[in-house]
């Protein structure tokens, strides 16, 4: 590479993005564009960084595949932290190129960016496979921290709290060794998740908040749990998904909340059929729906008729409990994602929630009207955040821009 590019890359590596920009600010050739992009990303101007990196990737010559792959990787990482989950493309091909040319650190970095994306959209198995294919030990120390953070994220979402704590401890050690404050802050905010109420338990007519390890213990206790955040019923190694059957789920939840007592027919009709008076036709429909719920839950419990309604009778001797989000409301799922402190695009939220963009947009508009969330930016660049919480930075471990020359 040439003289000013070398000087600028040296400044960037020394943590002086302004020094780097000063040297290449007016240059439009590919390596200069890439350096400017990385510097702007370090300075937090992600929109400009992305545009510069995209131009750089286009400007590199046909033989400069590695340089182009690094630009694509940097752009993907920026897309990830700006929650532009739909916009990540070409990362697989870039990773293959980096791998083929022996750039192991950046190939690993690409794996880590992809694993984080899979984690955010809830594809845990794929994220785990991605990590498993990547041996952590010979990697640069910052990558090891990133690796452990993704492993912790997977363990938390799987409710394996012991392994999650162990992974966070590894991430903490590596982040301290790497001496990257943003990375350390990310580890700290991830650790906070373990000590914050994660769910609300409703059992025997009483409610209390649970931490993640208490949720894990509840799941392991053999209790029959009606999980209102995932819309399923589980117990004794059996999971009955009811997410596509809202009437059955509402009935199961009402029965579980009243357990060991029964629930009057009128109350069940009101819960399941949205507050209508229980006339004869509703009673007939209730019998049909209870019959369907019996079939669904037959591995876990019986549903017995009582004089005034129905009662849940689990096969096991364990407890019955309802697990709900700490705060329930119409848009709790949207808020749960936004509570990570990042700026999300509505399309990324729709992807992560598996919902339509329209329904997410409607939820965001209502939440914005009540001041619960706020928009940032306009048009396609618009992002949504919960009002800013200090201590939620995002570590960008950008690739070194220069492969050669």
């Amino acid at each position: 590479m040439d003289s000013l590019i070398t000087a600028a890359a040296q400044a960037l590596a020394a943590g002086d993005p302004f020094g780097a920009l000063n040297r290449v600010a007016l240059r439009e050739d590919a390596p200069a564009l890439a350096l400017r992009g990385i510097a702007m990303a370090q300075l937090g101007d992600l929109a400009r960084a992305k545009a510069l990196l995209r131009r750089a990737a286009r400007a590199f010559g046909p033989k400069e595949a590695v340089a182009r792959a690094r630009c694509i990787l940097a752009e993907a990482e920026i897309a990830l932290v700006s929650r532009d989950l739909g916009a990540i493309s070409g990362l697989d091909a870039a990773r293959a190129i980096l791998d083929r040319h022996g750039d192991r650190a950046n190939a690993a970095h690409a794996c880590y960016v992809e694993a984080r994306r899979l984690l955010l959209v809830g594809r845990l198995d794929e994220a785990e496979r991605m990590l498993a294919a990547l041996p952590p030990s010979p990697l640069p120390i910052a990558m090891r921290a990133a690796h452990a953070l993704v492993a912790a994220g997977i363990a938390i979402r799987r409710l394996c709290i012991g392994p999650a704590r162990a992974a966070l401890a590894r991430a903490d050690t590596a982040a301290r060794q790497a001496g990257i404050p943003a990375l350390l802050a990310e580890v700290e905010s991830a650790s906070l998740v373990l000590d914050t109420p994660a769910a609300r338990l409703v059992a025997r007519g009483a409610e209390r908040l649970l931490r993640l390890d208490e949720v894990e213990a509840l799941m392991a206790s053999g209790a029959l749990v009606v999980d209102a955040s995932r819309h399923l019923v589980r117990g004794a190694g059996t999971v009955v998904p009811l997410d596509t059957r809202p009437v059955l789920f509402a009935l199961a939840r009402a029965l579980a909340e009243a357990w060991p007592g029964d629930v009057p027919r009128a109350a069940l009709v009101a819960r399941a059929f949205r507050g209508k008076e229980a006339d004869e036709s509703h009673r007939a429909r209730l019998r049909v729906e209870i019959g369907r719920l019996r079939v669904e839950l037959r591995a876990l419990a019986e549903i017995r008729a009582t004089k005034r309604g129905f009662v849940l009778a689990p096969h096991s001797t364990g407890e019955v409990a309802v697990l709900a989000r700490p705060v329930e409301g119409e848009h709790a799922a949207v808020l749960a994602f936004l509570s990570d402190g990042e700026a999300w695009s509505s399309s990324a939220l729709a992807l992560a929630l598996g919902a339509s963009q329209r329904s997410v947009q409607r939820a965001l508009d209502e939440l914005a009207a009540s001041g619960t969330v706020q928009p940032v930016g306009h048009g396609r660049a618009r992002r949504w955040m919960t009002p800013p919480v200090p201590g939620f930075p995002t570590a960008l471990l950008l690739p070194a821009p220069m492969p050669s020359g």
Partner: protein
């Protein structure tokens, strides 16, 4: 045009605290190479670095028999190798896009990397005397026995190539192995080239092809 594969005689480095080699020259005893914030003197027989001068050193390096010349940002520094002091500075012809520096016949020859040019300049003023067009990226320049050679590095490909100093026509190329870049090029005046290898931080000695009496 003759074409051959590089015969790499020896590899030096990587060296401690050297992330990349940016320019190379030879003073008759030591190979000097630029590594960002200093110039290092290497004994090519022992492979040891024997000295270093702390001076910004971002691209090409040259030696005129008395002084070292070193490109830093958009300037060429003239350095006294004894004291390590910068005794004069002239503007680099590529304005910072420069890569590769050689001394020959009273002039400095400067490669302009992505512009694929080699400038002959006045070492006192920096004035451009003439410009040779190449058709490849220029990452190192050297003269030996009246032959002008330059290093070429384009992504995964790199070569040492001898060009006609009047027309820029390629007369001969030596292919470097895949993945071996060329950043900085110098001849020892005999049968060796020294070339930097960019970000791998190594230095390589490559055999210069022998010629028969007819010069072929």
């Amino acid at each position: 045009m003759r074409r051959s594969s590089a015969d790499i005689i020896r590899e030096y480095g990587p060296f401690p605290e050297v992330e990349r080699v940016a320019g190379v020259t030879y003073d008759g005893r030591h190979v000097w190479f630029a590594s960002g914030d200093r110039l290092n003197a290497l004994d090519p027989d022992s492979g040891e670095t024997v000295r270093a001068i702390a001076v910004p050193a971002h691209a090409g390096t040259a030696f005129d028999g008395e002084h070292l010349f070193q490109i830093a940002e958009d300037r060429i520094q003239r350095i006294d190798p004894q004291s390590g002091r910068v005794v004069a500075t002239i503007p680099a012809p590529g304005g910072g896009g420069d890569s590769g520096l050689a001394w020959a016949e009273g002039s400095l020859w400067v490669g302009q990397y992505r512009d694929r040019k080699i400038h002959q300049i006045d070492p006192r003023t920096g004035a451009i005397l003439r410009t040779i067009e190449s058709n490849r990226y220029v990452t190192g320049v050297t003269w030996v026995d009246g032959e002008l050679w330059h290093g070429m590095w384009d992504g995964e490909e790199s070569e040492l190539r001898r060009i006609d100093p009047r027309t820029g026509a390629v007369l001969e190329t030596i292919d470097m192995p895949p993945g071996a870049g060329v950043s900085g090029l110098e001849s020892d005046g005999a049968d060796r080239f020294f070339c930097g290898s960019g970000t791998s931080g190594k230095l390589r000695a490559v055999r210069r092809p022998r010629r028969d009496a007819a010069g072929r």
